[in-house]
């Protein structure tokens, strides 16, 4: 229901919420096309040099016409689109534009939840009347993004986050879709069940095996069946298939950090112990630095090992104490790695992450029994130098030279 406000503007009197989901179309590729007009209208693939290893991060819509998709190997992308423009990408550039987009969203509502580098939820329930409703507001946001950034976005408007996210997916690129609860049977139920937000590849397969091939089939499935096979998750999935979601737009959500990690695809598959050690040290150094910079310590160290045949394992270890020191992280990562790698197959990718995080400022406790306080002081002095002059000015000697054990 809409009524006229004092100034003649229509005021939305719906008791339900108005949520926007904004998704920048082919973000990294679009930024590259905007930056370099020579790339406009041509297939741009961001991910790196196709002669080296790695995956497609983002493909422009022109590249998608050749079948190129995010996550595909660069080698495969080159095969499908030999004339594509392959770019390494520029993370600093994307991050800066992403932050500027968030500032723009904040000029429309204080309730902005960053969802990823190119997606955000906005709760405009309280501010939409300033623009005569949700649709004119969404149109104004789209206009400003195009004018200020040269980018197109797909916007979903709905009474909850789930439907807003599904709505923005329905029209790409440059979309604006309104999805009401009553539209769910007509617009969402015919879609394959894998299109439901939150249904990953494995869950999709389980649901298909049960004959629940569409979102509608999941919505109408006997609740006891879903409970028996999937427990609470099954009940939640059925609520979602019916378009129900009460989760709030939480501006703090992106700030709650659960783990910090880094991973690296090696230039070539390797079984060289020295290269493996150096890579683990480099990853531990990056993780430790990030923990300290953001004021966290963690107790759980996880190592990810991807073999040359793409089989992947993760192994974790809980430490006796919380830490943000790379030496401790590295020691745990080393132990985990060598316990779980018999020397073959060769290694393709390594990852190190630290979880079970707490705010480190609450944990200032001196240790009297070993060198940790001394190491900690040295580490912090190095951090200060890096903060002032940049990361490259202090590097561990072991990262420059092969380790001699």
């Amino acid at each position: 229901m809409q009524i006229m406000g004092k100034n003649g503007r229509r005021v939305n009197m719906f008791s339900e919420r108005a949520i926007l989901h904004i998704d920048v179309n082919a973000f990294f590729a679009a930024v590259e096309q905007m930056t370099n007009p020579a790339y406009q209208g041509r297939p741009v693939i961001v991910g790196g040099d196709p002669n080296r290893r790695g995956v497609v991060s983002t493909a422009s819509y022109e590249a998608r016409q050749y079948g190129v998709r995010s996550g595909m190997s660069l080698w495969e992308a080159r095969r499908l689109c030999p004339n594509g423009i392959f770019l390494e990408g520029n993370p600093a550039r994307y991050l800066d534009i992403s932050l500027r987009l968030l500032r723009l969203y904040h000029s429309f509502t204080p309730l902005v939840e960053p969802f990823s580098i190119d997606e955000a939820f906005l709760d405009i329930t309280g501010s939409q009347h300033l623009f005569d409703g949700a649709v004119p507001m969404a149109q104004e946001i789209k206009r400003k993004i195009r004018q200020q950034f040269g980018l197109t976005v797909s916007v979903g408007i709905a009474p909850n986050k789930l439907l807003a996210k599904m709505a923005s997916d329905l029209q790409k690129p440059d979309g604006l879709v309104i999805l009401r609860k009553e539209d769910v049977p007509r617009l969402l139920w015919p879609l394959p069940v894998g299109k439901l937000y939150g249904v990953g590849e494995k869950m999709e397969k389980y649901l298909m095996d049960l004959g629940l091939t569409t979102i509608g089939a999941l919505a109408k499935a006997p609740p006891q069946l879903l409970r028996r096979y999937f427990g609470v998750v099954g009940e939640n999935l059925q609520l979602m298939a019916n378009g129900q979601d009460d989760s709030p737009v939480d501006p703090q959500a992106g700030l709650l950090v659960k783990s910090m990690g880094h991973e690296l695809t090696l230039p070539a598959d390797t079984d060289d112990p020295e290269l493996i050690k150096r890579t683990l040290l480099q990853l531990s150094d990056q993780v430790g630095r990030r923990l300290r910079r953001e004021g966290y310590q963690g107790r759980k160290v996880t190592v990810k090992i991807r073999h040359s045949d793409f089989s992947t394992i993760t192994r974790e270890q809980t430490l006796a104490e919380y830490t943000d020191l790379e030496e401790t992280i590295y020691a745990a990562a080393q132990q985990l790695f060598w316990q779980n790698w018999p020397g073959w197959p060769k290694i393709r990718l390594l990852g190190v992450s630290v979880s079970a995080l707490v705010n480190a400022r609450r944990l200032q406790q001196l240790s009297f029994f070993d060198d940790r306080e001394k190491i900690s002081r040295v580490t912090r002095a190095v951090d200060t130098i890096r903060d002032k002059y940049g990361d490259g000015v202090v590097v561990k000697a072991r990262l420059l030279l092969p380790v001699r054990s």
Binding site: M34, T35, N36, A38, N90, A92, G150, D387, V393
Partner: protein
């Protein structure tokens, strides 16, 4: 084709209402008049901010990436993108 340059350049720039925009740069004894800034972004070099500008010039169709370093108020030509 992308060519890494990373050389210091002299720049004539306009400061206007909190905005910084390069207008001309001198590189290899040649003067390049900027016809369009296609994109700008910023990052941090330690505690100092760097401002990046992708620019098109009057004399050719290459794209030049310039960087203004607040650390020492210097300009650098970072890369040149030639359409090959």
């Amino acid at each position: 084709m992308v060519t890494e340059i990373s050389e210091p350049v002299d720049v004539v720039a306009v400061f206007n209402r909190g905005r910084l925009e390069p207008a001309i740069f001198l590189w290899n004894k040649r003067r390049y008049r900027i016809r369009r800034v296609t994109n700008t972004w910023r990052d941090m070099e330690g505690q100092y901010r760097r401002h990046f500008f992708s620019v098109l010039v009057d004399s050719n169709n290459d794209l030049y990436e310039l960087c203004f370093r607040t650390r020492d108020l210097s300009w650098q030509l970072v890369k040149v993108y030639s359409d090959g």
